[in-house]
């Protein structure tokens, strides 16, 4: 009757001297899973231009319809998006845009922290999407 009690005390004492497994969040972040789908970013091609050819597949496949594209033509480089808008406040992070993209321009990033006071600021354009690359080394 006494031995299990002592065993329990021994167990808690060994736990007491083990290192806590807590992540101290704001300073120390939990590394996201390997296939984590966070905020999207744009990749550039070899010439340093964005790869997007404004085919509109991501816009078509997006279940929450948060992507809007206006297509433009360039003499030298061909099709490009005049306007590419991604409403991150509506995005459900399903990752279909990444899957649908034929030229590997848009990717799901690892970043999961984004808080704003204003809904408008969640609208991502091409510059913001290219900038987001910095959070995904």
């Amino acid at each position: 009757m006494i031995i299990p009690l002592l065993k329990g005390l021994g167990l808690t004492l060994s736990r007491f001297f083990s290192k806590p497994i807590t992540y101290q969040y704001p300073e120390e972040k939990v590394p996201p899973a390997k296939h984590w789908r966070g905020i999207q970013y744009f990749e550039k091609n070899e010439q340093g231009r964005m790869r997007c050819v404004a085919c509109g597949l991501c816009m078509a496949v997006c279940p929450s319809q948060c992507i809007y594209i206006e297509t433009g033509e360039d003499e030298q480089f061909g099709r490009y998006p005049i306007r590419y808008e991604l409403d991150a406040s509506r995005c459900i992070f399903c990752g279909y845009c990444e899957e649908a993209c034929p030229v590997k321009a848009i990717f799901m990033g690892k970043n999961y922290e984004w808080v704003e006071n204003n809904r408008r600021t969640y609208l991502m354009n091409t510059e913001k999407l290219l900038e987001e690359k910095k959070n995904n080394p």
Binding site: L5, P20, T22
Partner: protein, 339 residues
């Protein structure tokens, strides 16, 4: 002049002991959260100051600024009186605990004894006041006008009466051995190394004292009066702000006193474990031993789950009381046979 000096000495001692006890209580809450945290493989409070050391002060400030609510159905005078009874008895318990021997103030022949009151009936005083402290809990729950509070206080009453019997009986062995109720005298008899401590002569009483002490201060395996999961905090359900803080402080002060009494009765009080270590002041030894007990109280809280109410009652009356009685009989027999 002699009287004036005595008065100054008394006031200084009272203030110092009170301040130390309050700081001890404040940091006991910190220590408890820290130890429980580490037992559960997390950090515990560590945001407020280095290692969370300022946490007790932030808690105190929070308690002061909370709304002080008295429910409409409450019995107001008793409701206000209950936390006072609790805290006053818990603090005044410490008055008879000898936390050191004595020292002479350098340059004079004035001897300062390191205890507030050295009364002949020290042990009796402790048990009397501890029982009064339980009135705080019982009245507090009853005066809240709340069914959970009432259930909690009924449980408190039943549990404390049952376990006080065993607690008193377990102490009687020590009284038979030392032939005195004066705590200083009991400590003096345990001088000269750890093999002279009462714990070796009364091991059964020591274990019984620890278990019944836990029941007496409502620590976790026996925290029936405030069982969070069934009674939603029990007797202090309607208390908020400083009134709740008073109950909280009373609980921890009571815990410190229980530990201090265990040190005094069983672990030789301020006496060092080896005679050659006596150059270290007794207060240090007393604090170190007290810390061991306080750590044990917290440690076992992090280990054992709460017992069911009928289990507690059965355990109290069918195990603790007979064991305490047997211990008392055997001690009496051995002492009378040895002459």
């Amino acid at each position: 002049m002699q009287v004036l000096y005595l008065l100054i000495e008394m006031i200084v001692k009272c203030v110092v002991v009170f301040a130390c006890l309050m700081i001890c209580v404040a940091y006991l809450t910190w220590l408890e959260r820290k130890v429980l945290g580490h037992i559960q493989i997390r950090y515990g409070p560590n945001r407020c100051g280095p290692y969370g050391l300022l946490q007790p002060f932030s808690d105190a400030i929070k308690a002061f600024f909370k709304e002080d609510l008295i429910p409409g159905r409450a019995d107001k005078p008793v409701f206000v009186l209950a936390p006072m009874i609790s805290i006053i008895s818990a603090i005044s318990l410490f008055a008879v605990i000898p936390f050191g021997n004595q020292f002479t103030i350098p340059g004079t022949d004035w001897v300062v004894k390191l205890r507030i009151a050295d009364v002949d009936i020290g042990l009796l005083y402790v048990f009397a006041l501890a029982s009064i402290g339980e009135f705080g809990i019982i009245l507090g729950g009853w005066a809240s006008g709340n069914k959970y509070g009432l259930t909690g206080s009924l449980r408190a009453a039943a549990q404390m009466i049952s376990y006080e019997v065993a607690l008193g009986l377990s102490i009687l062995g020590i009284i038979i051995l030392s032939q005195t109720l004066r705590l200083t005298e009991i400590v003096h008899q345990q001088a000269g190394g750890f093999w002279n401590w009462n714990v070796w002569y009364q091991p059964m009483a020591f274990i019984l004292y620890l278990i019944c002490g836990l029941a007496e201060i409502n620590r976790t395996p026996f925290d029936m009066p405030e069982a969070e999961s069934e009674l939603a905090c029990g007797f202090n359900i309607e208390y908020s702000s400083m009134k709740f803080a008073l109950f909280f402080m009373a609980e921890y002060a009571h815990m410190v006193t229980m530990g201090a009494l265990a040190v005094t009765l069983f672990w030789g009080g301020w006496q060092p474990p080896f005679p050659f270590l006596s150059f270290i002041p007794g207060v240090v030894w007393f604090s170190a031993k007290l810390f061991v007990f306080l750590f044990f109280f917290i440690w076992q809280r992090g280990t054992f789950p709460r017992l069911r109410y009928d289990q507690i009652m059965k355990f109290g009356w069918k195990v603790m009381v007979p064991l305490a009685l047997a211990n008392l009989l055997i001690t009496g027999l051995v002492v009378s046979l040895k002459g």
